[in-house]
């Protein structure tokens, strides 16, 4: 028990400090600040005009597309990390394997590019 959790003690202390600071700062203004509620004050800011429609609509699919692409490529990156750590001990095999992997990754990248996944026009 002691042995496994012991190295994480400092980060637990550090994390507690961060969260403590964070929470107290979040609450600071609501404790010390004045509070005068008024309808105009609490209305949504839209450059001084009444808001047009709701802002809780479905937003543009392009942002969603970026998220999907991110998931794909970030997983590739995560796969590459352990390989990169032991790369030097793998020698030529590691290189060939990497070339194959990067080739496939590149294929997907080119496909996404050609399909206009990175375009915003």
């Amino acid at each position: 028990m002691e042995c496994t959790l012991r190295p994480y003690l400092p980060i637990a202390v550090y994390g507690a400090l961060v969260l403590g600071t964070g929470f107290s700062l979040t609450l600071a203004s609501s404790i010390f600040g004045p509070r005068v509620r008024r309808l105009e004050k609490e209305s949504t800011y839209e450059c001084g005009s009444l808001p047009l429609g709701s802002s809780r609509e479905r937003f543009s699919v392009k942002f969603y597309l970026v998220a999907i692409l991110f998931v794909l490529f970030d997983i590739e990156t995560v796969f590459l990390v352990p390989w990169a750590v032991v790369y030097r001990s793998m020698g030529l095999f590691g290189l060939l394997e990497m070339l194959a992997f990067m080739g496939i990754l590149l294929l997907g990248f080119v496909y996404a590019w050609k399909r206009g996944g990175f375009d915003w026009e």
Binding site: I11, A28, V66
Partner: protein, 333 residues
């Protein structure tokens, strides 16, 4: 089990946290003074000697400001946003060695920890943007999410080639490996350095990539509706994230705490290493500030094109080239 190592650990954690939190106000002040210097202005110089107490005055002002929660906002997420923006950035610093053998915890997966923690910051921004029930905030939040995750890929791929060269994901080992001047990763991986640094700017929403909060079109971006210390938290988070990213740049590429030659053993060496690290950190931070007050900002599609169509392919090519060179190098040796 003795208490002294535990106590030492706790003291170290508290000290490093205190150092980061003290650095932020001075960074804010430095930003304002340097921008004033760049722009032929005076800058804040009234509160305290040379304006040194200005950040303190700002914090006090923010704390005593009224907090306005817009109508129909999601109250929970609205309050959680600033916290989620601040906490991950601050926690990320735990893995960074600020001097020889001086870090909160020496993680074997330090690089991954920092990257994971900093990328969590996107939640803070997108939560805040969505919860405000404001279209400018929403657009800012969406932009920010898309921007941060896009540049994270370029950043991650750039890191892969660094990891290949160093053969480790432990930040302390990467630091140790750069003791001599020529072993600094900026010389071994110059392209990765450029990609990483560019992506770091984008991750931190700094000019020329400050689209999430660009005031000329989105007013305040994701923090348009925020006031009081909640706004202050976003502000704080931005600067903490900037410090973390600069520290990463220093650690990964600029020789970490090494002055370029071997340091003396013992306490003296540690003290010098902290000094060297701080100096490099300030240099990188100065570069951040300098860029911010010099360049205009990209448009959103240009930003995405730069990320996806330039940096990602470049990083991929860099991995391949690194792989080939490392294999040949090892074969020759």
């Amino acid at each position: 089990m003795t208490w002294s190592p535990i106590l030492l650990d706790v003291i170290r954690a508290v000290l490093i946290f205190a150092a980061v939190m003290t650095l932020v106000p001075f960074l804010v002040l430095a930003e304002r003074r340097i921008s004033a210097w760049i722009q032929n202005r005076v800058g804040p110089n009234r509160v305290g000697p040379m304006g040194t107490l200005q950040p303190l005055a700002d914090v006090i002002k923010l704390v005593f400001k009224e907090e306005i929660v817009p109508a129909r906002a999601d109250r929970v997420l609205y309050s959680l946003g600033p916290l989620l923006s601040f906490a991950p950035a601050a926690i990320a610093f735990a893995a960074i060695p600020v001097g020889r053998g001086l870090q909160v915890v020496d993680m074997s997966v330090g690089v991954l920890f920092v990257i994971t923690a900093t990328s969590l910051a996107v939640y803070g921004i997108s939560f805040g943007g969505w919860a405000s029930n404001n279209k400018f905030s929403l657009l800012g939040g969406l932009r920010s999410s898309a921007q941060i995750i896009s540049y994270e890929i370029a950043m991650g791929l750039a890191l892969i080639s660094v990891i290949m060269t160093t053969g480790s994901v432990s930040l302390s080992q990467i630091s140790e490996g750069q003791t001599s001047f020529l072993c600094w990763n900026i010389f071994r991986q110059p392209i990765a350095f450029v990609i990483f640094f560019t992506a770091a700017f984008a991750e931190n929403n700094r000019l020329p990539f400050d689209l999430p909060e660009c005031e000329s079109e989105l007013v305040g971006g994701y923090h348009t509706e925020y006031s009081g210390m909640k706004f202050g938290m976003y502000f704080l988070a931005e600067y903490v994230a900037m410090i973390v990213m600069s520290a990463m740049v220093v650690t990964l590429f600029l020789g970490a705490w090494s002055p370029g030659f071997a340091l003396p053993e013992g306490l003296l060496g540690t003290v010098i290493s902290v000094g060297v690290f701080s100096f490099k950190l300030f240099a990188v931070l100065f570069f951040y500030i300098w860029v911010r007050w010099t360049l205009p900002r990209f448009r959103y599609d240009q930003l995405m094109h730069l990320g996806w169509k330039s940096l990602v392919p470049l990083a991929m090519a860099n991995i391949v080239v690194t792989g080939i060179v490392v294999t040949i190098w090892d074969a020759v040796q």
